[in-house]
């Protein structure tokens, strides 16, 4: 089983690497870049919301802060377009992470519903700041980023593609590591029963805050790349409430709290969304279709594709082995085996 997984991951990675070489059409690579961005952002978001169960609906704030941070750094230091702005992406992410520390501290003082609503409210505060601090952010006029003039035509998307892919791999690495560490076990314990986890000695406060800041860092780095990719940023497009809900929906659709779930969700939803946008423009049809898709996913698949599919697979395997036993062939019904942390994988295994 493990060897299949490793091979599978390597094959997927190879596909991801050769993709822009095979499909050089800019329309397709643009969709691919956005898809990778959302996959990475959803993976980052999953670290706080999937693992701890604290659903944050305000991560567009950190996305936007990092976007503005990158734009301002490039502006103040007169950085030309090219590869150098990519080096500043982690810096922009760290700025967003630094701002997420006090905000996360305040928000994480409450639980569940109130936490959700507070993160939404904080998002709107930050968005308002982007409009109002016009000396810094240029208000609704927006800011421009350096344009890489050397890259043209089919090549333009390629650097963005690989940088985003790198961030996605880093995000997955972090997510995987957390899932297999004692820290991650603590986060899962918080999700299942926070008071009991606290009683058992999990430092719930600092664990939650750490998860929050890590997810803000990843989402922030994506925000910075996004800003450089779209070249000019405005408060309305950079701090977009739809972003908050889009990454949440992707993680939900794929499977909240699983490693591959958010990526699967992004791979399905983001190309669909881009297609609808291209097809119907910004008219109402797009919103109606997207909203309807939303409702269908949540009503019919509240647990997400991966957990649902896994359960189906296990029941299928069990019934099959039972049937074989009845027909005289003895096959031991194996309990579901995962390579996750003992006691956890029964509920949420790691599937890639």
């Amino acid at each position: 089983m493990r060897i299949f997984k490793t091979v599978g991951v390597l094959v997927l990675l190879a596909i991801a690497v050769v993709f822009p070489i095979v499909f050089s059409n800019p329309t397709i690579t643009t969709i691919a870049v956005f898809t990778l961005m959302f996959a990475a952002a959803a993976t980052g978001w999953n670290i706080i919301s999937g693992y701890t169960g604290y659903v944050a609906l305000g991560h567009a704030a950190y996305f936007g802060i990092a976007a503005y941070a990158l734009a301002l750094m490039c502006q103040d230091w007169h950085i030309p377009g090219g590869y150098i702005p990519f080096l500043l992406v982690p810096v922009a992410g760290l700025i967003a992470a630094a701002i997420s520390v006090p905000l996360g501290w305040i928000a994480l003082r409450v639980r569940r519903h109130t936490f959700i609503v507070i993160t939404i409210a904080m998002f709107f505060i930050v968005q308002l700041m982007a409009y109002n601090l016009s000396q810094l952010t240029n208000g609704s006029t927006g800011l421009g980023l350096p344009i890489p003039t050397d890259w043209s035509g089919d090549f333009f998307n390629t650097p963005f593609y690989f940088v985003t892919l790198a961030v996605l791999l880093i995000a997955m690495g972090i997510s995987w590591w957390i899932r297999h560490s004692k820290f991650g076990l603590g986060l899962l314990a918080i999700r299942d029963d926070e008071d009991r986890a606290m009683g058992l000695g999990v430092r719930t406060g600092s664990s939650k805050l750490a998860a929050f800041v890590i997810s803000a860092l990843i989402v922030g780095m994506i925000g910075a790349i996004w800003a450089y990719f779209v070249e000019s940023i405005y408060p309305a497009s950079t701090f977009d409430p739809n972003f908050d809900v889009a990454i949440a929906l992707m993680a939900f659709m794929g499977g909240l709290g699983t490693l591959a779930g958010p990526i699967l969700g992004a791979l399905i939803l983001e190309p669909a969304q881009q297609y609808f946008t291209i097809q119907y423009g910004q008219s109402g049809y797009y919103l109606v279709i997207y909203g309807a898709l939303f409702l269908v996913v949540i009503i019919f698949m509240p647990r997400g594709i991966i957990p649902t599919a896994r359960d189906r697979w296990y029941t299928f395997r069990e019934t099959r082995s039972q049937r074989q036993q009845e027909s005289g062939i003895t096959v031991t019904a194996l309990p579901p085996q995962g390579d996750g942390v003992a006691g956890v994988e029964k509920k949420e295994g790691i599937n890639l």
Binding site: H113, I120, D195, Y285, L287, L295, I299
Partner: protein
Amino acid sequence: MLGLIIEAIILGILTGGVYALMSSGLTLLFGVMEIINVGQGALVILGAYLSFVLEQKLHVDLFVGLLITMPVMFGLGIVIELLFIRPVKGDRTMLSILVTYGVALVIEGILNLIFSANYVQLRAWYVTASIKVGGFYLPYIYVFGFLLAVALLGGLYLLLYRSRFGHALRASMQNRTAAELIGIDVKRISTLTFGIGIALAAAGGMAFGATSAFDAGSSYDLISRLLAIIIFGGMGSLSGALIASLGMLVVEDVTAVVWSPVWASTVFFILLVIILVVRPQGLLGQVEGRKQ
């Protein structure tokens, strides 16, 4: 200056009443059903557009039109609850946010299709005519809107505290399981509460649409304010929502006068953050017990 501040306070109280109308539905839904209806903003705008259509096409007075729009929105609320909220399994609160967001997107999309993205404002004689209060002029709609809010919230009070339905509703708010055990049909109560919350949103939408121009996208601004109000007041607390609505609008209007309109809502949001640091459950909210 003092006159301006007094004017701002009066204006804040009057518009605050309208916000109380919109946020009371939201906090009531949370209290009874433990759901957060992020579609409330879109439903308010939908209510405003319904009033707009009645006024434009059939020349129905805005306040008379409420006799039509409120029952229609009540029905719509019941349909939404039955179709989308009730089938939700698992973590209701979380999923309800996503579901109602999906509903909001669909409503916004439909409104965009029908009315395009142009700003409109409701028209009536009392929107343009003003009354002289003290040293300044105030459009009648602010007074009428406030009176409407007082009347409807008074009606809501009577319904909650003086009727059998209200007793059942408050029992469901206090303890869902215990209410079910003593024979209250909590599901039915929930559906009706959803309808009532949406009907109140429609009334608030009419007053909102008469005092400011709106389009389908106005719902985002609105829902952020409404959510801020119910967190400030304490989620699930009706009186908290009332106090927070009045407080928010007064603070905003006074800030707009003494400082700058640009910073008006920021000051309220900063107050919100301060109250959350001191009292995370909000002004009148209850500390959440341990859920098994």
